[in-house]
Each structure stands twice: as C-alpha cells, then as structure tokens.
C-alpha cells in the first residue's frame, strides 16, 4: 500500500540545513498495523505528516496505492488525503466551537456527502463508539478519553484505508489508553491499515511491526511474532 524510498526532509535555518528525515525507506502492506517508535525529535511526526500528505518531503519517492504522491499536484494530493486517510492526534484537535456530532460530521462535509447519508454514517459511528449520549456536548465538556474517542470517530467516519495516529494515548491514563488501543486494533481487524506513533512498548505490542527511528533514520525494524488477526 505504501512504498517509500530514499526520503529526505530538512529545514533550512539561516542557510543551515537540519535533516529531520534521512534516507527513509519503508513499505507498508494493506491491512497492516505498524508502530513507529523513537525518542522525541526523532522525526516520527514529520514522517507521519508526509505519509498523510499534509507535508512534503524534499526528495525521495512516495507511492500510495500505486499513485506516485511526489509527482501529484496539490489538488490530486488533497483528493487522496481527503478520501483515503484519517488522522488522530495526541491533543485530539477537536474543533472547540462544534459539538461532538458536528466534529464527526466535518470530514463528510468536505467530501460533499449528502445530508441523509451523513446522518446515517454518524449515527452508526456514534453507536459503535458508545457516545450517542454525548453527541450534543462540546469538546471541553468531555474527558480526555472521550475526546480521543471522538477524534478517532472523526478520523474513520469517511472510511479511510489508512489511519495515522500520532501518539493517540499520550495524554491519557492507562485505562483510557487501553480502551483506545483496543478500538484501534478492532479497526485494524476490520481492514483499516494503521500506522501509529507511540512511546509505549505495551501499545506497540498491538501492532505487527515496530519501526525504530533515531535522528531521522530508521535504525531497526522489529517484526512481532504474535499476529492479532481476526
């Protein structure tokens, strides 16, 4: 599904190039659950944003389901990103002014999905995530765990093939974190490809493979024997 080779990303500050990603090669198959680990500043988020087409690499190749992302124009890239990819953040990044329901609805609006279809989909997800009762509340009225549930609901509402999660449990206590991880692995079992960033070995164990990143380089890839196939 994802094929990356010789990816470089740097920032230029006062004519000095600081490399954030150096010669990253990575391939992820459809249906995989991959974990990226590494210390702070290793370039994990940057890699995730590039994979999610929110950011661009400076050089290297990126194929997403046989589309060469590096040679697509902005429009085509937005289209792919809109329809194929969902994001979950450490800080949830819900929109403060919108209710739970409206937050989940937002991606569908941008995909120009009809109102009646939207209602159905949202109802389904609310039900699946057990947050029907919360649908008219605003984000600040929810606990962190609940907010992250909404964040995931919003990320998968448009049924993306790929879900990118940047430290999804980073702000949660372990009980809440576990709930979220269970949810993610359930989604994975239903067919969504997931790439997550985490600092927790326990969370990494939900995946099938761990990629260790250090100073922008992939230093180790670790296959987990026990496959959670469902």
């Amino acid at each position: 599904m994802i094929q990356i080779s010789h990816l470089f990303k740097y920032y230029t500050n006062k004519f000095i190039k600081t490399y954030v990603l150096q010669d990253v090669n990575l391939s992820v198959a459809e249906g995989e659950f991959v974990t990226i680990m590494g210390p702070s500043g290793a370039g994990k988020s940057t890699l995730l944003y590039i994979l999610g087409m929110l950011d661009e690499a400076n050089s290297g190749e990126y194929f997403f389901r046989n589309n060469s992302v590096h040679s697509l124009n902005e429009r085509q890239r937005t289209h792919l990103h809109k329809h194929e990819i969902g994001f979950v953040f450490q800080n949830y990044h819900l929109i403060d002014e919108l209710t739970v329901y409206e937050n989940i609805e937002a991606p569908l609006l941008y995909q120009k999905i009809k109102s009646s279809d939207r209602k159905g989909k949202i109802a389904e997800v609310l039900d699946q995530f057990n947050i029907v009762a919360k649908k008219d509340l605003f984000p600040y009225q929810l606990s962190g765990g609940q907010q992250q549930l909404v964040g995931i609901a919003r990320a998968i509402i448009a049924q993306p093939r790929l879900l990118l999660a940047d430290e999804p449990t980073g702000n949660l206590n372990s009980a809440q974190g576990e709930e979220i991880m269970e949810l993610l692995s359930q989604l994975n079992r239903q067919g969504t490809t997931i790439i997550q960033v985490t600092h927790s070995e326990k969370n990494a164990a939900y995946g099938q493979r761990i990629i260790h990143l250090l100073d922008g380089k992939v230093v180790k890839t670790e296959e987990l024997k026990k496959k959670k196939t469902g």
Binding site: L54, D55, T78, K82, F89, Y110, Y140
Partner: protein, 772 residues
Amino acid sequence: MVASLLILHYVHYQKSYDRYIESGDRVYRLRYERSAEGGTFVRFSSACPAAAPALREHFPEIEKIARIFRHRAVISYQDKKFQENRMFYIEADFLDLFNIDFLEGDKDALREGSGKAAISASTARKYFGEEDPLGKRISLDQQEDFLITGVYQDFPENSHIKCDILLSYQNLVASRGTELQQSWGHTMFYTYLMLKPGTDAKSLESKFPELIKEQAGELMEYFGVVIYLKLQPLYDIHLNSHFMQELEANGNADTLRYLVIVAIFIMLMAWVNYVNLSTAQALNRAREVGIRKVIGANRRQLIVQFFWETILINIIAVVIAITLCELLLTEFYQFAGLPENLQFLQQSYFWQIIGYLFAGGVILSGLYPVLLLSSYQPRKVLKGKLGNKGSGFGLRRALVLFQYLMALLLIIGTITVSQQISYMRNQPLGFNMEQSLVLKAPRVVSGSMDEKFETFKVEVERLPGVLKSAFCTEVPGRQILWDNGAIHKAGDDPSSGKNYQIVGVDYDYIEFFELEMANGRGFSREFPSDKKALVLNEKAVQWMGFEDPDDAVGKAVDYWGEIYPIIGVVKNFHQQSLKADFEPHIYRFMLSSPRGVFVLKLNSTQVPVTVQAVQKIWQDMFSGNPYDFFFLDDYYNQQYEADELFGRIFGLFSILAIFITSLGILGLTAFSAVQRSKEVGIRKVLGANVSDILYLMARDYIRLLIIAFVVSIPLALYGIRIWLESYAFKMTPDYMIFIIALGVVGIITLMTVFAQTYRVATTNPVKAIRYE
C-alpha cells in the same frame, strides 16, 4: 471624527444665522398671510405697508418696529455704474434692530429727512475705492440723487438679510405715493419688530385679527379674503422659513437634521469599531488579566488600568482629529459652500463638541471592554477554556450588524439622492432653454419703453448669431414673484377669486421657449385685440374652474374688474425645478417692463462674438444701464445645487461609512484569522480546501450582512418616502439600488475577509497543529 466635526461645524454655521443680533430673541419678523374663500392661502415673508404704523400705534409692548422696502436699481457715481439688488429704503428703527455698526459718518442722519444714503464698507470700496464716500452723491437710475451720510460694516455672512445700500424712507413715500403706505393689500414691505422684555409673542399675535378687522375689514369683505399677520422669530428665519418673497434662499432644517444624524452615525460606527476590536483584543489579553488577578490585582485596579488606556487612545484620536480638521477646513468650506473666514478653532462650541466626543468616546468605547475584561474568571482563562465564541462575541456581531446597516442605508441614500437629481434633470421640462441668453431689462429708458424694447429685439435679431428673441417678466428657473389674487372666471361671484402667478410676455415668448399649446393660440401681431387678452396654463384653467382647455378658450377672465378673453392655453411646463409642483400661471401681454428680461436664442457656433455684438447694440440703445446677462440653462440648473451638495455630502459619508466598516471587519478578521488558525489547520487535515476555509471565515459576516440587508429595506423605503415628499415630481425608486448596495458592501466584505484569511487558508496545516 474629523468628518463629524466638520459636519457639526456646518450645522452650527447654519444655525448661527442671525445670532449676532443683540437681544435677537425679542426680534420678530412680521409676516402677511391671505386666505381667499376659494381656498387659496398665500403666505408672505413680508408684510403690508399699513401694518407697521398700525401696530406701533396700538401696541405699546412693541419697543421698535421698522419697515424696509427693497429696491433694485442702477446706482451710478461718476462713470461707475452697478445694478444694485440689495438696496433698501429703511425706517429709522431698522438701524437699531439689526445693530448696524457705522464705521464712518453719522448713524442718526438717516433717521430724518430725505435724500440720504448709507452704504456698506464693501459697496463704498466698489464705488469710491480709496476716496472718502462721505458727502458724495450717488444717483439712482440717473433720476434721483442721494447724499452719502454713513458707511457701515458689511452684514455678516450668516445674516438672512444683507443690505448694501440703505436709503431714506421718505424717498420711497415720495416716489410711490402716500397711498401705498396705507395699503393692506400690497406686500413686499419687510417689517421687523422688537418686543419689550417679557412680552409674550403669541398673546400679542392673537390681538392682531381684531386690529386687522378694524382697519381693513372693508377691503377683506370686498375681495372676499381674510388677512392675517404673523410674528416669526428672527432665529427661525434662516432654517424654517420658505414663504413667498424671501430675501434669500434659506437653509433647510431637514437637511441639517439628516446631516446631524449622519455625523452621529459616523461617530458611532467608529466607536463600534473600537469596541469591537478591543473586545477581540480582550481575548488575547484575557490571559494577562487572568495572571494579574491571580497575583492579586483586584477588579478596581484592573478597571482603572484599562480606562487609562482608553483615555489615552481617545486623547490621541482627538489630537489627530483636530489637526486634520484644521488641515481640511479650507477644502471643506469650498465643498460645502461656506464663507472662508469662519474662526473654527477659536469658537467655544467647537471645544464643547470635542469635549462631548471625547467623553462619549471614552465611555462608549471604554466601558464595555473594561467591564468584560475585568469580569473574567481567572481560573477559566488560565485553563485556556475561553474559545473565540467567548464573551463579547454576541456583542461584536451586533455591532458589525449595526455597521452594515448604516453602510447599506448610506449607500442606498446616496444612490437615491443622485437618482432623484438625475431624474429631475432628465425629465422633459416642457420648454426649450438651450443656448438662451438672458439680459436684464434696462431700467432707464428715454422715450417710449415699448417701442425701444421692440426695436432692440429687431436690432439683435439682425445679428447672424441670434436666432430669435423675446421679452418677458420672468424666465423659467425660479418662482414667479408676481402674483395677483382675486382673479376669477368672468361672471362668477367675486368670492371665487384666487391667486395666480402672472407673467408678462410679448408676441414671441411662447414661440421662443417652444411651449406647447393645449388649445388656442399665443399672442399674435395679427390680432390687435390680443393686447387685452390672456393666455393661461393648464393648471390655471383647472384652478379657475374650467372643465378643460377646450372649455377655457373663448371664455373670459375677470381680472380686478376688467374682462380679458382667453385666447389660448399652454401645457404645463416646469417653470421651476421638479421640486416644485406646477402652479397656475396667467400670461398677460406686455412689451416692456423695467423688471423684465430679454431672452435671445443664440447660434451655438460663435457665442462670445455674439454676446459682444449684442452688448454693442445695448450700449447704443440703453446707455447708462449695465449689461447684465446670464445663460438660462446655468441659471435653471442652479436650482439643483442644494440637492447636489446634499448628494455629495451623503456620498462622501457613505464612502466613509464603508471605509470604517471595512476597517472594522479587517481588524476583526485579522484577529480571528490568528485566533482560528488552529481550527483552520484541523479543518484542512479533515479535508477542507482553500475555498472551504474562505467560506468558513466569511460566513459569519455574510450572514450578518444579509440580516442587515433585510432590516435595511423597510428602513430605507421609509426614509426614501419621507425624503421624496419634498419633491413634487418624484422618481419611482428603483429596487436595483438595494441590490447594488448589498453588492458593494458584500464585495468589500469578501475582499477584506479574503485578503486577511487567504494566508491562513493556504499555510501548511502542519504548522498550526504541530505544537500545542
């Protein structure tokens, strides 16, 4: 603020009319009104000559009373000759009533005897230059000499009456006869009086009818009219007086009211901006406030701090405003048609206004944000739970809504005013005034006036540049001042007599202006009997009680006991601007009159040459009379000057209003672009593209604009209706103006929002969502 100051300055000037007169609150103008049983009611600004002596005799509460009579004539001194239009025969008390300030000579000389004149300083310069005018003799129409006994300071610009030359009243009595002085039927005698302190004008006025009945009862019975005398406070004259025979075009209180409203609007809009932006800022500062509260600042200290800031900003604004005012003043005077020597900054009212503006600014623009800020709960703020939907959001919306409303109303107003003006200008007038030169008739003619006038026309028509010519007592372009009452259909009861406007015209008048006949014919040389005939306009036909023009022609009119046949009816035409309705006109045959004018239709190619050639003929035939001419179309269009000025001012302020509104929106969007950058980032992650984001940011404003638009429609329609009421001929409002106004404001809003938002909408969302 500058704009408001300037407008208020203009308004103040208009209101300052006649205030220079000492004890002016006790000074009144006596006005004459006459109602006929037929229902006509004429209100004059002047009085009848008999009124003043009668009042003086019967009412001791009148301290001073004076009649003055305007005389237009040619004054000459040696080889200098000028037509004088602001010359008055005055009774002695007039000098005291108007505090006329004598620079030279003896104020009292004019009080008694005859043959004396006092002239204003500028008139003295005009005739005598550096010479001493005292003791010199000036000649009136080269018939009567006057000895100059005094020179007085010119009347101020803000006086409703301005006299260049004052003449002994005795000369008027001598030249027009003593009988006129006792008349209760004539007007044109402007009469001013001062009441003794403590006299109630209303109760005095209520005693007039009895006196009038006693003195003029017979006359009223004979003509079937009722005469009234009214007291009009001096201070009311300039702004609220629109009667017949006014001395000069007076101001319009309504216009001033509109302007004050506009000035207040503008000021409010500016304050609204300040409130809006500072509440928006307040959110940014909420954190600071929160911290201060935590470290123990109490509410009072905070309020004081913020108030000081507001006061400082307002002081800066006032200083800038005063400077700008001073810089723009000359331009403004030209723009608004004011005299240039008004001392603006020296006047105490100016500082009063500044004071009010300052206080208003501090209170309105300071109070709300201050209270808002200081009431924040520190705990909530520090936890960052204060979204941009927080306090003040609703108020900001309401204020933007208000600004939109003002902007829309002003734009609609501007378009309406200009549409009405162009409607009036483009409407067929019913006569042709192209290339018409108007010459004021000579006052001094030796020999037969009729013959001379006829010869003059023949002579000028010989010139290749002159196509045709005519003589009349009034050209289109202003109200006809010659009006006679008690005219009625021959055979009808005299009580059906009404008031008509009279125009004396020669054989060529109707043809000259290409007036259309509704029936019958104009005056013709082929019918000698036409000299004793009349032509009416349609309105007069109706007025007199004929069924239609066909009915009228061939019938006769009883004009003060003489019977005149009606030979023709002209279609109504716009004697005055389209502000005024058609009025009943009676055209009398007349070959000459010293108050009339010649009209010459010129060939368009060689106008200056022709004007000179005509002047030569003029000097040969009417030497001693000034060659005083103007072009009719210019003259006619002057009638729209006031409206155009009004339109210009309105236009200026709507531009200003749009500007202020868009500044406000600019500030708010700049602010919310920053505030909402994180939200924008998230939305982009969720798949929003640039246009989605632009729409998101503009949506609130568009919604507000639409609400404002809906509210503005009834308000504007109401305003337009009220305004158009003062026009006899109204355009039908074009509903496109609403769309145009909406379009203008909408486009400007969108442009403002887009300019501010585009950068945010296109930045990489990663930047916004990366760090929290």
